[in-house]
Each structure stands twice: as structure tokens, then as C-alpha cells.
């Protein structure tokens, strides 16, 4: 089960609203490589994963990603507070505004609503962990791109933190893949799928 901690993992305090920046950062809330998809991917892959170390890792990283989802929501919320008429008309934010006002909705920056089609749960040990490695890289690049677009240190500091987490998670999933391979057929890791074959 899950219970709530009334605080963020890392402080988010943004002095200057900037709806245009919010309209690209929202992609890490509900976009194809965002934190919602990340948490659902790992927390869903756990069920068929046969090895305790990797069940633990998927649980712990999936839980951390839920905390990151909350941080991204906080960034978007703070960037869109107290907006002027001129700011809501700004190209880049007006399309989001007409559908959601300043509510935080899981969508990609391109306008596509959150879709589970962007995450994979294949029920195969090597396949799921390889997907996770790719997922961390895709999220890392999205954060690189947000850093290219942000001139606000209050925002960039939080994005840097989240980006670094993707690198650490990539390392841990790589190690998990190594641990899994140790437990599999040493001559041919593709001989069976231990997530299904008993």
C-alpha cells in the first residue's frame, strides 16, 4: 500500500510565474517519457518479476517516481499562478489554458493526453529491464531539453535534480539486469522466461 508524506522530495520554490515554460514542463507530468508513465511502468512490472532484489528495486524506484510526479505538478502549479490576461493569451500556453485553465492535467507538451501506450509491461525479465534502461534515457533527454529551454534557475535546479535521478536509476536497472542474468541459464539467457516458465 501507499501512504502520503506531506512534503516534496526536493524543494520547489519558484519566484516568477512563467506559463510558457509550464507548457513544456507538463510533458514530464503526463507525456510519453514522464514521471506518471515511469511510476506506472515500474510499479506494474513488479508483479511478474521473479527475483526479490528486482521486485524491491522496481518498488523503490516506482515509489520515488511518484514523488517526482508531485514535484513536476508543483513546478507547473507555481509557474501558472497569478497570471495576467496577457500571460494566458501567450502562444504556447493559450491552448492548454482553454482546456484546463490552470489545473494540472497529465498531458504531453504536444497536447496528446497521457497514454499507457508509451510504457511497456512485457512480462519478461530481460525485456522489461531493457525497457526500463531505455525509459530512463528518454526521461534524461527530456530533462536535457527542458534545461535548454529554461532560463529560470529556480526551475533549472529542480530539473537538474530530476535529471540526475534518471542517471542513477539507469545504473541500478543495469545492475538489476546483471543480477537477473546470474540467476538465469548461464549458457543461454533466452532459454526460458523465468517470469513465466517455472
Amino acid at each position: 500500500m501507499f501512504s502520503y508524506e506531506k512534503k516534496l522530495q526536493y524543494p520547489v520554490r519558484i519566484a516568477t510565474p512563467n506559463p510558457k515554460l509550464a507548457s513544456v514542463i507538463i510533458s514530464q507530468y503526463g507525456g510519453p517519457d514522464g514521471e506518471l508513465g515511469a511510476s506506472l511502468r515500474y510499479l506494474s512490472q513488479r508483479f511478474s518479476m521473479p527475483y526479490p532484489e528486482i521486485q524491491g528495486l522496481l518498488t523503490d524506484i516506482g515509489t520515488e517516481e511518484l514523488g517526482h510526479l508531485e514535484m513536476i505538478g508543483a513546478i507547473v502549479h507555481q509557474l501558472t499562478r497569478n497570471l495576467t490576461d496577457e500571460q494566458i493569451r501567450q502562444a504556447g500556453f493559450n491552448a492548454y489554458f482553454v482546456d484546463h485553465t490552470t489545473g494540472v492535467y497529465p498531458t504531453a507538451a504536444s497536447g496528446f493526453p497521457f497514454s499507457a501506450a508509451a510504457l511497456g509491461v512485457k512480462g519478461d525479465v530481460i525485456c522489461d529491464l531493457t525497457e526500463d534502461l531505455a525509459a530512463e534515457q528518454k526521461a534524461r533527454v527530456t530533462y536535457d531539453n527542458i534545461l535548454r529551454l529554461s532560463d529560470d534557475p529556480d526551475v533549472s535546479n529542480v530539473i537538474r535534480f530530476l535529471r540526475e535521478r534518471e542517471i542513477v536509476h539507469f545504473q541500478r536497472f543495469g545492475e538489476a539486469l546483471r543480477l537477473a542474468k546470474e540467476k538465469m541459464d548461464q549458457k543461454n539467457v533466452y532459454f526460458t522466461n523465468p517470469a513465466f516458465d517455472k
Partner: protein
């Protein structure tokens, strides 16, 4: 075939490198295993960097460093908890690193004390802690974490 003993014995890798098998089966990807007892930042440096481990601190340098001061009582607690999160992920894949587990226990103690001290001043962080307050309004009282004055630091 898949060595995972990552002792810091002579002949081990540098801190920013990990171990790989000498020979390995084809057609599967490899990430080097982080060695046991890696170098560590302080908890404040760890929170500011996004990792406890200097060897994994690989920033993107599109613009200059703009790291700000994360000071304040909430950031202190967040730093301790961040170390616990980071060590938990490390221990998931390095369950035999006794030194890291001892460190986890040590930080868990520090976090418990810091949490009690923080909650005594700023109100409950969990529903379980809400029972310690005078009334339910202690839980509902803001600012909630997404508010710009989060943690009472305006």
C-alpha cells in the same frame, strides 16, 4: 561468469568506474556494476547534486551551474531522507555491502530524530503523526507541499 563481488581490493576500479565480466555471453546489454563502498557526498551535497555518489554525478553542461542554497529545516530533513532513498536503491542491487547497510541504519536514526523535531514545530508530515496534534486541523493546515511557500519558508 558474472562477477558481482566488487571489493575495493587492490586492482579494483576507480570510483567512477565499475566492474564488467572478462568474457560475457553475446546478445545481452551490460552496465558496469558499481563497486562496494563507493565514495559519498554529505547529505546536503547529495540533495543538491541529485545523487549521493560522486562517481554517478554526471551533469548536463548546457548552461552554467546555478545551484542555490537549499538551507532551512525542511531541506535538512529532505537531505537525510534523500540519502535513505539513494542508499535503498544501492542496497537493492548490493544487498551484501554491510558498510552501506550500517550507514543506512545510521541515517535512519538521524532521520527519525530530525523528523520528530521538524514535526514538533511545523506540524505532522503523515496521517500517523497527525494523532500527536491537538486537533485534526494540524494535518489540514497549509501550506501544502506544492505551494510556493512550502515548508513555511516564504
Amino acid at each position: 561468469m558474472y562477477p558481482r563481488t566488487n571489493s575495493a581490493a587492490p586492482g579494483g576500479c576507480e570510483d567512477a568506474s565499475g566492474t564488467l565480466p572478462q568474457c560475457a555471453p553475446l546478445a545481452v546489454p551490460y552496465v558496469p556494476f558499481q563497486q562496494n563502498s563507493p565514495n559519498r557526498y554529505t547529505q546536503q551535497q547529495a540533495l543538491a547534486s541529485g545523487t549521493l555518489f560522486p562517481g554517478l554525478d554526471l551533469p548536463f553542461r548546457v548552461k552554467g551551474e546555478m545551484r542555490r542554497d537549499l538551507g532551512g529545516p525542511l531541506a535538512e530533513l529532505q537531505a537525510l531522507e534523500f540519502v535513505l532513498v539513494e542508499l535503498a536503491l544501492y542496497l537493492d542491487t548490493h544487498p551484501d555491502d554491510a558498510e552501506a547497510f550500517a550507514l543506512y541504519q545510521q541515517y535512519a536514526d538521524m532521520e527519525r530524530q530530525a523528523r520528530s523535531a521538524y514535526e514538533a514545530v511545523n506540524g505532522p508530515l503523515t496521517l500517523a503523526a497527525a494523532a500527536q496534534g491537538d486537533s485534526w486541523s494540524a494535518w489540514l493546515k497549509g501550506p501544502w507541499p506544492w505551494h510556493p511557500t512550502e515548508g513555511g519558508n516564504s
